[in-house]
Amino acid sequence: MSELDLELLPDGGVSWLDASGPDAHIVLSTRIRLARNLGDTRFTPRATDPERERILERVLDAGRAAAPMADATVFRVDRLSRLERQLLHERHLISKELAGLEDRQGVRHGAALLTNGAMGVMINEEDHLRLQVLHSGFAPGPAYQSMARFERDLGTRVPFAFHREFGYLTSCPTNAGTGLRASVLIHLPGLVLTKEIAKVLQGLTQVGLTFRGLYGEGSEVVGNFFQLSNQTTLGKSDDELLDHLSKIVRQVIAYEEQARDVLRRNAPTVIADKVWRAYGLLRYARSLSFEETMNLLSGVRLGVGLNLIADLSVYTLNKLLIFTQPAHLAQRAERALTDPDLPVIRATYVRKLLEDDAGRRPETGRRA
């Protein structure tokens, strides 16, 4: 397959944007990732191209035979253009490494994605298989359950690398053992505005969690979005790792709620002004950088969370997060975009989505 057609995927592979999950006003998504390797083959980074091709064939055969992937789509990432690869990455369907967007190394031969929209397998990433699933809101349990069934099925079809003492073996020892990385994408403007965030983040590292930006490893924190995940993968069972993460994330959600209460109580005018200015800029600006868009969306999202802006859907805000990125805008415009066109087209798209959302709002039934 040489052309990227995301229409093949149910909901374009972003059903987790619909904000239907628990605590979706604070937690955008929960992601579960399991790293697995074939026991009889070199790890992808050291494998030859023919070996990677063989890995791909075996994983695809096994994956497509498993129930959840009956109607799944295969994207040969190594045959896509850079823009198409970037699109898949922006959509959180593949990692930056698989997309070959890292500076020095291009896309790897045999890099592919098998996905049914909700759940996918990255093939020939740093590990032979990187299984991942994204759910809306804070839902580690359901996300893990669906993934675990698929993983068990796969494990009966191909031999995973497993060691009785060290568990599942991975290319990098930081993933060995369970191979499990559970992460939540969480929006913490309250903690940032009340300047409590440093304390919270420091606390997280002390209890074995790690935080990153919107796009995982190496990415910057923008728009007050943080990705929290377990730091270690060995010595605790999958359930223990998930329980621990859940407990801590629940606590972080509670801190964020408290911080928002403080803002509401102590600085209602300042906050309302900030929120509405952000909305005004998004609604009427003629040129927007990605970073500015993220920061303004953060303000508006806070406003929706505080019930200051009624009737603006979190779904629209989530969609804006994904579809205002460069490759998505380029795809809509059907041409490569650079400055100064890109920020102008971004602003036009943001205005349109917000206008559409406002147009859908009923005249009556407005919340306070």
Binding site: G39, F166, G218
Partner: protein, 172 residues
């Protein structure tokens, strides 16, 4: 995203500001290179003393005694410990056996444990196929005994250690 100044490969996640005689220098390093340079971060102190490990591999000090096999290459993929130092990635599943003692130490330092907790996995064997290239590793009981032996030695309970050692030998 900033790249590590030292290796130029991995993302720089540690931003170090040093002030010596009022001269301020800034360094942007990845976790591995920071650890190699002996930069201690909160994460590295708690979970990531990869530097100690990598340094000990170089000097041969404080590292577990390397067997003949460990000193060389992985016979399945040809990777060496130096390759691992350079890339942070192992070559193949068998590397975990080739460099077992080193990796046990490293895994303990990264994860605070080296013993996997969870259901043991049994790989499928297609009809007529050879057993998987990676032996599944020692029996869990043996692993547990070795762990007890290590703790006994560390806490200087030498009589217990001797008994455990004999038990392990008998099982091996």
């Amino acid at each position: 995203m900033t790249r590590c100044e030292h290796c130029g490969e991995r993302p720089a996640s540690i931003h170090l500001t040093t002030i010596v005689d009022n001269a301020v220098t800034e360094q942007h390093l990845c976790e591995v290179c920071a650890a190699e340079k002996g930069v201690q971060t909160e994460a590295s102190v708690a979970k990531y003393p990869l530097g100690d490990f990598l340094a000990s591999m170089g000097k041969g000090a404080a590292a577990p005694p390397a067997t003949g096999r460990e000193a060389g290459k992985c016979d399945a993929c040809g990777a060496t410990l130096q390759d691992f130092r350079d890339t942070g990635r192992l070559g193949c599943p068998r590397c975990y056996l080739t460099f077992e003692a080193h990796l046990r130490t490293l895994l303990r330092r990264i994860h605070g444990a080296s013993l996997h907790v969870g259901e043991p996995y049994v790989a499928p064997l297609p009809a007529g196929a050879l057993p998987a290239a990676v032996p599944a590793g020692p029996e869990p009981a043996l692993v547990e005994l070795r762990d007890q032996l290590r703790r006994a030695v560390e806490s200087e309970h030498f009589e217990l250690a001797a008994r455990l050692r004999d038990q392990i030998r008998a099982m091996e």
